[in-house]
Structure formats: structure tokens, C-alpha cells
Symmetry: C2
Subunit: 200 residues, 2 copies
């Protein structure tokens, strides 16, 4: 006889994300997730394929949230201002959810990789701002430079790699200004023959 679900996929993902954020990946056990949504571990397999699938769904959820925040932080009309704001939003997200943030970029097993369209959606506002700043034909390489710096800085910060003292806040603002200046000042960044050869 059909019985209504006692839990749901969003409930499970939400419960899993809360455990991951508070206690880390190794505490994300099927039994604990199940307990937090009011069922037993085997029941979870009616809603998700396996634990790796759950981790991937949690990563998707986090990327979607980050993307929404990036989009909300942009749109002022000044691309340079937008990029500064997005870098700060990115960093703030990492500080709020350090364990999930690390997961997003470590992604050791293949199965945890977030969906391609979610990634594309999240990076769209950055691409748009860079396009106006650096010009259409250099959008991709310039955006990759910007995002690489931002992601690298925050990753190193969270990984505790900045152990030589100094003001990390000031280093972030310094890097932000330096990278944006480099992208604006294209002639300094890319040596190329006249005739507008594309970088691709």
C-alpha cells in the first residue's frame, strides 16, 4: 500500500549541509543524516543514489547560493566596482561556510563535481563585469585571472597558509586592486603583435 514520504530530497540535502558545515565531511554519515530527518539510514536510498551523490547535491546547493549572492552584488553599472564587491562576497561566503567552501574546490572524487550549468550560472556575473572592463576578446582569460586570484587567496586563507603574520585583510585589498589594475591595463598585461591577434 502506498505511503507518503516521511522526508524529502530538499530536507535531506539541508540536513546534510548543516552537518557538513558544523562538523565536517567525516561526520556526514548516512545514519546521522537519517536521524536528523527522522528516518533510518536505509530509507535515504529512496531519495539519493549514495553518499557521494548527497555530497554532490550539497555542493550544488552551495554553488547556487554563492551564485545568487554574486549576482545580487553586481549590476551597479561600474564593472570595477562590481568585481570588487563580488570578490568580497566570495570571500565572505567562504568565511561563513569554510568547510563547504573547501569542499567546492578540493573535489577529490569525481562524483562530487557540481553540475556544469550551475557553475556557469554562478560565474556569469563575473564574466559580464570582466567583459566590460577588459574587452570582449580578452574576457575569458581576464576572468580566469581574476577568479583564480580570488579563489586562491581565500583557499590559502582557509587552509591556514598565511602563517607569516601580516594583515590578511590588507593583503586581500592589495591583491584585489593589483589584479583589477592589471586587467584594466591590458597593454601591460599582454604583449602581442599589432593587428589585434586574438588570445583565445
Amino acid at each position: 500500500m502506498p505511503t507518503p514520504s516521511r522526508t524529502s530530497l530538499p530536507d535531506i540535502v539541508r540536513a546534510g549541509r548543516r552537518i557538513l558545515e558544523s562538523d565536517g565531511l567525516e561526520q556526514l554519515t548516512m545514519a546521522r543524516v537519517a536521524h536528523n530527518v527522522g528516518v533510518r539510514a536505509p530509507s535515504l536510498y529512496k531519495h539519493i543514489r549514495d553518499r557521494d551523490d548527497l555530497i554532490r547535491l550539497i555542493a550544488n546547493d552551495a554553488v547556487a547560493e554563492l551564485g545568487a549572492r554574486l549576482a545580487a552584488a553586481s549590476g551597479s553599472g561600474d564593472p570595477c566596482h562590481d568585481l570588487r564587491e563580488m570578490a568580497r562576497v566570495h570571500r565572505a561566503f567562504a568565511h561563513e561556510h569554510p568547510l563547504i567552501y573547501r569542499l567546492l574546490w578540493s573535489q577529490v572524487p569525481e562524483q562530487w563535481r557540481v553540475d556544469a550549468d550551475l557553475n556557469a550560472q554562478a560565474s556569469a556575473p563575473v564574466l559580464q563585469a570582466v567583459a566590460t572592463l577588459a574587452g570582449e576578446c580578452e574576457t575569458l582569460v581576464a576572468a580566469r585571472t581574476f577568479v583564480a586570484w580570488a579563489q586562491g587567496f581565500v583557499s590559502m586563507e582557509l587552509a591556514g597558509a598565511f602563517r607569516l603574520g601580516g594583515d590578511v585583510e590588507a593583503a586581500f585589498e592589495y591583491g584585489l586592486t593589483a589584479v583589477l589594475a592589471a586587467l584594466t591595463n591590458q597593454s601591460a598585461a599582454v604583449p602581442r603583435a599589432p593587428g589585434r591577434r586574438s588570445i583565445r
Copy 2:
């Protein structure tokens, strides 16, 4: 009666690293490491504290190797040239050992963190080159900008984050040139009042 060791710590770390590099972290089981050094799993605990300790030792080993390669790639006298070479060495190392490289920067559990002095030793040549390039008082912030970009770029590359096509090689060279230009051209990077106020 005392019996000589049938294995050793370096043997164990070497075997563990080989497994990790070829088959990933989840395949790094105590039984498999033990088998590869010719003993049974319980014997490993005579040489290491636990599995987390082994992972930390493997990460230490990798950082030491990377540091040696960075040092070997620098010292030409031209800091800009040295930094370009070190960025490429960094990236080449990541491509040769992608699974270990990801481990170095994800570092989800605290116990895997590499020793502070090994980290310091590995980053010394970068710091030195940046010091001559950007000037003493901005060494730290400039080095953090440079390393953040390099690490972020390679991490994203390995994580498969560059899914929008384009030439990743060209993007790397573009970013390298852009970041180095920004660090050399300090006045563009850091807006500050005259009178040489320190960034710190």
C-alpha cells in the same frame, strides 16, 4: 627477543604516496600500504600514529619536493624571470601529481596540515624574488597575491573548473604576465597617500 624492522618510515611514506598518486585518497588503505611494504596492517602502527598521520607525512614529502624544485628554478638574478619559472614549475608539479596537489590545498581535516617550517622553506624562493621585484615593504602582500593567483589557477584547472573552452595555456601566460606587471607597477596597484604610508 629484538627483531630488526622489516620496513621503515620512509618506505611506508613512499608506498603510501605512490598509492595516493595513482588511485586517490580512498584507495589509501592501511592494508594496501602494508601489503606494498611487505607487512600486515597492524605493523604500520609501530611506525606511524594513524592513517591521518600517514597522510600528513605524505603531504610533507610532497611539499618538500615542490620546495626543492622551486628553489632550483630560481636564482637567475632576474626576479621577474624567476617568478615566471617558479609559476611554471608549480603548475608542472600539479600536473605530474594532481591527486597529491589537490590534497595539499584542500586539507579538510586539521591533522593533515603540513609542518610550518616545510611550508616556509618551500615559499622562501618566491618571497625572495618578490622582495626584489616589489620592494621590501610590500613583499608579503605582493607574494600573497602572486601565490594566490598561481595556486588558484592550477587548482581550478585540476578541479575542471575551466569548462568554457578557450586555451588554458594562454590563460595561464596571460595571468602570469598580468599579475607580475601589477606587482612591478606598485603605484597602479596600491592607491595611497604620499609619504610612504605602510600597507601592513
